[in-house]
């Protein structure tokens, strides 16, 4: 089998460059070539400034070798996988492939990122050896963040080539591989475009406004904030007719997508006038900054003019069946769009996908639907949907008719199964080495559990502590159960993993609770909660067994501090760690200051004396810096150099468990911490730096108050250089500073702003 150690991407457009960046993010060298002589180099430059970032670190960017297709073609000679992402023109691609045959090494894999050209056409006239090494790998935009990879193999593609690409994309690029048939639009775009097109056309026909349409069809898919019109704004209005055009050209006249084809004068006019969405002058929504103001506006589908955005007041039922059954504007619209979309999904199996799991996975990962179409059908009942479709005179897809009263998914023997086209239930496949807590939960009971957390047995003597609170915010219940879990694990397990499957590891401490307590002046309770967190995290650190933190997504504040107390961290590459307490007018007080001081003090590559480490920690914490990737978290020492990174979200738990088991042999808890800190002189230095920022307008009045409190903690307050401070002394300083700030009205105003608006208050 081909081992992939070096990759090339040809075509440095948005997709090609993004794919190259993600390869580099995995630590793999990558060649990026463009037809424009300095196109690739410019693309890398642009990506270094892009937001959201394409690169996970600056080091990753250095792994990209740029060049152009005329002069640097021989750079491809030692690449194991060559990804073509050039313009969507068959002649250009075929000519390129012919040239590739001359330089690429034998057994290397070539794939195209095409979204519109059938594989059959791409191999026409090329030698059989090329076809055997060729497949389509369809990435989604942006390639770093979208986890879907659709893979189409040709009739003669080597199995080992597909396997090599799939394995690499899974483990190194972090993608979930969905095998597709060689059909137009593959799976995700085929269904996604149908859904969007249907929603747009029906909104015009049924006289709905965009806010209403988005509210109605966004929520059932779990994407209430964007909806369809918001999504079109995001991808670009001009792209829609293009994608639609290429698909309807290839599909038979009988395909339901043909019936959604419609010339919509308003949209044509918007595109012609440059209203192409977020990249253009605006789309169906825009922020009107005219006259120095900021007005959220929406395009009226009725008048074709912008007007202030109006929140749709439809009073929609949460239950999907209730929504589709309602005999009013919203109900009728929901039915015409969603029922047809779901029916279309059912028609895609087996035409475009081998089974339903491929369609569901494609829509969840490619369109961010919270539920796949077959999961949605299960909410309705296949028989109910089929009956209503028939009653409406719509075709009932074969799969739906045959499913009858059976659900598409079912738990058999405590494991998830899906309904195959053979009408038998098959286990839902997990790639080798994938361990999901959601699967474990199906077949076992928690060892401990309360309203905010649970402890699970994940096998081989390892336990998993899961946060279950809202936003996985750390609250007294989590701390309580964690304390209990430490005792249980010590008795019954070898190691502990802290992990959950929420979209964020933890957004931090529960600020709502804290603010409420502060508002009723419950200072004793607040101080007790601070102390409880300190004690619990300390107990975690010194527990007689290894603890591995396994974060993904946000790990902020108290969520970051728990990681700082773990023996090791196995982080998902997309982990965003930070001590953000200063942003809400507080200081880290669950050992965050203490642990960061120790990490920077022990680093060894800073100048001598206690001050450099203190200054580094002050800089990181006072500015509430959040690492934008696991790689960046290592640079900031939120993660240790020895901590590991997992690219694929689904593999995180398995990797963390393996790491924990590796630590079991000869495990000894860390030695107690002792630090020498600079004392008052150091504190003054830090405060002066903050005042400098204030004079330059970079720090607000309350920033100074917070910085001063932080400086006092980090410098050791009245510490003196001849004596070292122990853990409890530092914790006591953290607690004191926290309590002082918690009483400050400006801090309370900051917390309130974050809770109410999600925006930090700069007071």
């Amino acid at each position: 089998m081909t081992a992939i150690n070096k990759v090339a991407v040809i075509g440095a457009g948005v997709m090609g460059a993004g794919i190259a960046a993600q390869v580099a993010n995995a630590g793999i060298p990558v060649v990026l070539l463009d037809v424009v002589p300095d196109g690739a180099a410019r693309a890398v430059e642009k990506m270094l400034k892009a937001e959201p970032a394409a690169f996970m670190s600056r080091a990753a960017a250095r792994l990209v070798t740029t060049g152009n297709t005329a002069a640097d073609f021989e750079l491809l000679a030692d690449c194991d996988w060559i990804i073509e992402a050039v313009i969507e023109r068959l002649d250009v691609k075929l000519e390129l492939y012919a040239r590739l045959e001359a330089v690429r090494k034998p057994g290397s894999v070539v794939s195209s990122n095409t979204s519109t050209i059938p594989l059959a056409k791409l191999t026409e006239g090329l030698p059989a050896s090329f076809a055997a090494d060729f497949c389509i790998t369809h990435f989604f935009n942006p390639p770093r963040y979208m986890r879907l990879l659709e893979v189409v193999k040709g009739p003669t593609t080597r199995a080992s080539a597909i396997e090599a690409v799939a394995r690499f994309s899974d483990s190194c690029l972090g993608k979930s591989i969905v095998p597709c048939k060689d059909r137009p639009g593959f799976i995700a775009n085929r269904l996604g475009v149908f859904w969007i097109q249907c929603a747009v056309v029906e909104a015009f026909d049924q006289g709905l406004e965009v806010e209403e349409a988005d509210a109605i069809v966004g929520r059932p898919m779990g994407i209430p904030k964007t909806g369809v019109f918001g999504l079109i704004d995001l991808v670009g209005l001009d792209l829609m007719p293009h994608v639609m055009g290429s698909m309807v050209g290839l599909l038979p006249d009988s395909d339901p997508l043909q019936s959604c084809r419609r010339e919509l004068p308003l949209i044509s006019k918007m595109i012609a006038d440059g209203y192409t969405g977020r990249k253009g002058k605006g789309g169906f929504y825009r922020l009107n900054r005219a006259g120095g103001g900021k007005v959220k506006e929406a395009m009226s589908l009725k008048t074709g003019d912008y007007r202030p955005e109006v929140k749709a007041e439809l009073d929609l039922p949460k239950d999907l069946k209730a929504l589709l059954s309602r005999d009013d504007r919203a109900g009728r619209y929901a039915w015409t769009v969603l029922a047809r979309t779901l029916a279309y999904a059912a028609a895609l199996v087996p035409e475009a996908a081998d089974d339903i799991t491929a369609v569901d996975e494609a829509m969840r990962l490619g369109y961010n639907w919270k539920w796949g179409p077959f999961e949605l059908i299960d909410k309705l009942g296949a028989d109910w949907l089929a009956e209503r479709l028939a009653a409406d005179g719509l075709a009932v897809p074969d799969l739906l008719a045959r499913a009858g009263k059976q659900s598409f998914y079912r738990i058999i023997d405590e494991r998830p199964h899906y309904l195959g086209t053979d009408m038998a239930y098959h286990p839902v496949r997990r790639p080798d080495g994938v361990l999901l807590l959601s699967d474990i939960k199906l077949r076992s009971q928690p060892i401990l559990k309360n309203g905010s957390a649970a402890l699970w047995d994940i096998g081989d003597g390892v336990a998993c502590f899961e946060f279950t609170s809202k936003m996985n915010a750390v609250d007294p219940d989590i701390l309580g159960l964690l304390g209990k879990s430490l005792k249980t694990v010590a008795k019954q397990f070898k190691a502990l993993v802290i992990y959950n499957e929420g979209s964020n590891f933890s957004a931090g401490a529960n600020l709502g609770l804290a603010l409420f307590a502060a508002n009723i002046a419950a200072w004793t309770e607040i101080e007790q909660m601070v102390a409880l967190g300190q004690e619990t995290y300390k107990a975690l650190k010194y527990a007689p067994f290894p603890v591995v933190g396994a974060p993904s997504g946000l790990a902020l504040g108290g969520g970051c501090e728990i990681l700082l107390h773990c023996d090791a961290v196995q982080a998902h590459a997309e982990t965003y760690v930070g001590l953000v307490e200063c942003g809400v007018g507080l200081v880290p007080a669950w050992g965050g200051c203490k642990e960061m001081l120790q990490r920077w003090s022990n680093l060894g590559r800073l100048p001598k004396g206690p001050m450099p480490a203190v200054a580094k920690v002050f800089e990181t914490i006072s500015t509430a810096t959040v690492a934008k990737s696991a790689a960046e978290a290592k640079e900031l020492l939120f993660l240790r150099p020895s901590d590991a990174v997992t690219m694929n979200r689904s593999r995180l738990l398995a990797d963390a468990k393996a790491k924990a088991l590796a630590l079991v042999a000869d495990y000894a808890p860390p030695t107690p911490l002792e630090l020498t800190l600079p004392g008052p002189a150091g504190g003054v230095g830090l405060t002066m730096a903050a005042e400098g920022f204030h004079r330059r307008g970079l720090a607000t009045k309350h920033d100074l108050v917070v910085s001063a409190a932080l400086a006092q903690v980090l410098s050791g307050d009245d510490a003196d250089l001849t004596k070292s401070l122990d853990e409890d002394a530092l914790l006591s300083l953290e607690r004191k500073a926290f309590m002082k700030l918690a009483r400050h009205p400006a801090t309370l105003a900051r917390i309130e702003s974050i809770l109410e608006t999600g925006k930090p208050l700069r007071n």
Partner: protein
Amino acid sequence: MPSYKAPLRDMRFVFYELFKGDDLLVKLPGYEEMTPDLIDAILEEAGKVCEEVLAPLNRPGDEEGCRFENGAVYTPSGFKEAYNLFRDGGWTGIACDPAYGGQGLPKAVNSLVEEMICSANLSFGMYPGLSHGAYLAIEAHGASELKERYLPKLAEGLWSGTMCLTEPHCGTDLGLVRSKAVPQGDGSYKITGTKIFISAGDHDLTDNIIHLVLARLPDAPKGIKGISLFLVPKFKVTEAGQVGAANGVSCGSIEHKMGIKASSTCVINFDEAEGYLLGQAHRGMRAMFTMMNGARLGVAIQGLGIAEASYQGAVGYARDRLQGRSLAGVKCPDKPADPLIVHPDVRRMLLTMRSTVEGCRALGAWVGLQLDLQHRSPDPQIRQDAEDLVALLTPVIKALFTDLGFDAANLGVQIFGGHGFIREHGMEQLVRDARITQIYEGTNGIQALDLVGRKMGAHAGRSLRQFFHPVANLIESKLDDAALGAYVQPLAKAFVRLQQATAQIARVGMAKPEEAAAAASDYLRLMGLVALAYMWVRMAELALPKVAEKQDSEGFYQAKLNTARFFLDRVLPQTAGLFQAIMAGGGSMMAFDEAAF
């Protein structure tokens, strides 16, 4: 019949000494003239009017009641003359904007005047009180020509006003309102519907009556979000601003009721009456809500006024009436018996009343001043803080003052014994008059729901902060004070109960709103008692040095200290029981089988 004396000494104490109200107000734009001289003069004059004109009419007004004859309502004998005097004295416009002919008095001062009126004659107070409510609504939401046309007349008292909310099938749940408003295309509307329980809905005191009516437009959404507010005069107003033709507004009947019999409570029928929109279409409830805090403070003051009247009557009787001998030995050997006031249980009742009255007066003044700050302070942070405190404490004082006011009236009857039960002394009238204050302007149960349902959770408890922090700070700084500490300790105990109950309700209520609702009334009382205790500690803080430095020739400050002691020792411990009831939860109520009731 109790003779009323305006409690000017205590009012001055609360206003000037406790809250430095004069300093506070003169710094607010528009109140620069509010010097102690002016405020004193107003309070003294108001006291005279209340003592000499309004109080003597209270009992005859109750005996005679209002009459409904041939479609018209007549107030009891003497009311019209009294009203004319009241109006000629400028009292109808004291709190109105000088731009419309008013005297621009701050709300805090106005509520002291209102207290006197309510003590003297609650029924009479209804007429100018409702007019002022209508005045404020038009001032806040009316188009400028409506303001020009109606406000001067209301301020001058030539016309009066009403609030027409309730309909036969809906009181508390105004989302059910059915009255209709049909636009006429010329900016006016035709209003049709029946309103009931309309205070001052019809009477013979003024030439015209301006009704503010909640009704639905033809395209209105269902429920509470589809209600609009309209101005509908009893008689149309001519171009020249004079009273013109009848306007399809008629009084169907008046209610026969338990109390405030001299206040007319009417069924008002609107039959295609011409009206004008106030504020935005479908936003009528919002428009009403902007005045709700002021109106609820007004009702709270009614409870206080009644309590004061009852206390004055009871003290006089307890001194004069000779019954039984003191258990500590004969006090008046030259008389056939000792006066009632020697008996512990009579003292318990009197001090309960007194501590209620003086505590509520202080608390009401605090809220009143915050209302002025909320509207007039140039500092947005002060405005916000004041608004938060007013929002939080408005439901508390409305329910607390009216409940305690009713209790005080009841104790007054008790002290009089059989003489309280008969009508001659007017004590039983106070009980009957007080009863409505617990019901109207949002029943006290609704106030409690407002507190736990809306005010408590809003902005993660920000409104709570404006009350909890000052109390916590006072406790923290004075708990160990040599002199004041003994007063602070009971407050500290009760405050912890309040904090714990608040956290409990917030926690449980989040998951189960019914649990928060089950705790609501007890919780409101708990917070109310802590608020009164906070006032008593602050008053004691002020009185202690005066007594110590012998600046207390009248014994006023010593009495303050003694009343504070009584409240903290004998009333505040109720918080322990309330706390236990709250923590027990609502299970025992909600599990009860409906059929078994």
